[in-house]
């Protein structure tokens, strides 16, 4: 499994690098592109975890559809370089505080439960296959699925109503 480990480490490096790039780039277009890179790297993680369907869905939906719209908006509004301004300082402090809390939680989880915590049992080889996801989605999770689709429909109708002039 050494090949897999090397692959994982390289990917992890890229993913973390892309995430840092997203946070620290002053140009909104670069930030968005770093996020795309991050999404694609995460998709490759899914491939390593034997979930090709999730990987492809991740690329198609997040990297392919949602981020293109983000880029659209950024480009149309003009990607001005962000200044390091002092406003919204309380937000930054709050974010740092919450980040530290999250990190603390992770550390506790790791060291209290050990590195190989028994959080998930053995997932079958069928896990994440298109058939499996389809059956689960339309049987066990039908209600959340329907609610999500109604939410999306409401969003679409809202967008049409808002952009329509009387």
């Amino acid at each position: 499994m050494t090949a897999e480990l090397i692959l994982f480490l390289v990917l992890a490096l890229v993913a973390v690098g892309a995430a840092l790039g997203l946070l620290f780039s002053r140009n909104a277009v670069y930030a968005a592109l770093f996020l795309v890179l991050n999404f694609i790297t995460v998709a490759v993680f899914y491939l390593l975890l034997n979930a090709p369907f999730l990987a492809m869905a991740q690329v198609t939906i997040y990297a392919g559809a949602i981020m293109v719209l983000f880029l659209f908006v950024i480009m149309l509004l003009g990607a001005r370089k962000l200044k390091t301004s002092g406003e919204n300082l309380w937000q930054r402090r709050l974010a740092i505080g919450l980040g530290v809390v999250l990190l603390g939680e992770l550390v506790v989880l790791f060291f209290a439960k050990g590195w190989r915590g028994t959080l998930i049992g053995d997932i079958g080889s069928k896990f994440g296959s298109p058939e499996h996801i389809g059956i689960e989605l339309f049987n066990q999770y039908l209600l959340p699925f329907e609610i999500t689709s109604i939410l999306l429909l409401v969003g679409i109708i809202g967008a049409i109503v808002l952009t329509k002039d009387n």
Binding site: V29, P52, M56, V59, T60, A65, V68, M75
Partner: protein, 334 residues
Amino acid sequence: MDMILVLEWVIKSILLILFGITGFAYTTYYERRALARIQTRIGPNRAGPAGLLQPVADGIKLIFNEELIPAKADKVLFVLAPIITVLPALIIWAVVPWGTSITISGREIPLYLADINVGALYIMAVASIAVYGIVIAGWSSNSKYPLLGSLRSTAQIISYELSLGLAFVGPIMLSNSMSMVSIVEKQQETAWFIVLQPLGFVIFFLAILAEINRAPFDMPEAEQELVGGYHTEYSGMKFALFFMAEYIKMIAVSAIAATLFLGGYSGPWVESIPWLGPIYLLLKIFILLFVFIWIRGTLPRFRYDRLMAFGWKIMLPAALINVFLTAVVIMFLP
């Protein structure tokens, strides 16, 4: 995982990429010759016998062209954009099956790079990534015409991607699989899916015309309106890369259309002589490419608003109805 298997994959990948690049060169020649015939001209026939060296001459010319980067462009992204555009066009080939398998010196070699069980989704994923090259090229040029051109192309590609995805669903439902190899095998058992899915094929074909920016949906080349499109500021090899991506995509979508709807590599005697598989697929690609050129030679360009209206108000409902009807028929006719 033995080394020979890795070597096999590497060789197959290199062959595919080489095929894509030579295919690109000779598709431009094919297009120019066929288009000239349609317009009662002769076309390029000076370089080499019957003009066959014309693509080589064009390539040499492009290499020696001056590479210009606009002063106010975003340099990094400006250079990166053509590369990002070419990559999806090349990696999409990974799931296209060329045949069953052949035996070379006792080793059975399947004639495809990867038979993944989500092949159709892989194609959709790669196609959705292909938009980035255009977006980045338009934005990084820092010039209004490329930006407008790239916004138009992107909106067009995203809109038609929906119908394209829905057109995939027909063959997937009929063959009960997302693997391209199983889709072809199912067509060998029953009939080509163009017979079972005529509406699906029409939607698929129109959607790929828009996806790869071909006439009559060739907004990026609407010189009269936008000077050029997202690649206006590019010159030399960078421009050639955009051009290359466009033509490789054209060949790739022909191969995918042939695989999904025209039986892929199947044809008479392909079971006994597996070498015929690639030849049949090439023949089908050749015919589909001719249809692309033929359409370009005969139809005028769509106006942009009509293009979008057509995509959303006709293509998408038609694709949805097609999926619905296919599902109903499969449910009630075992």
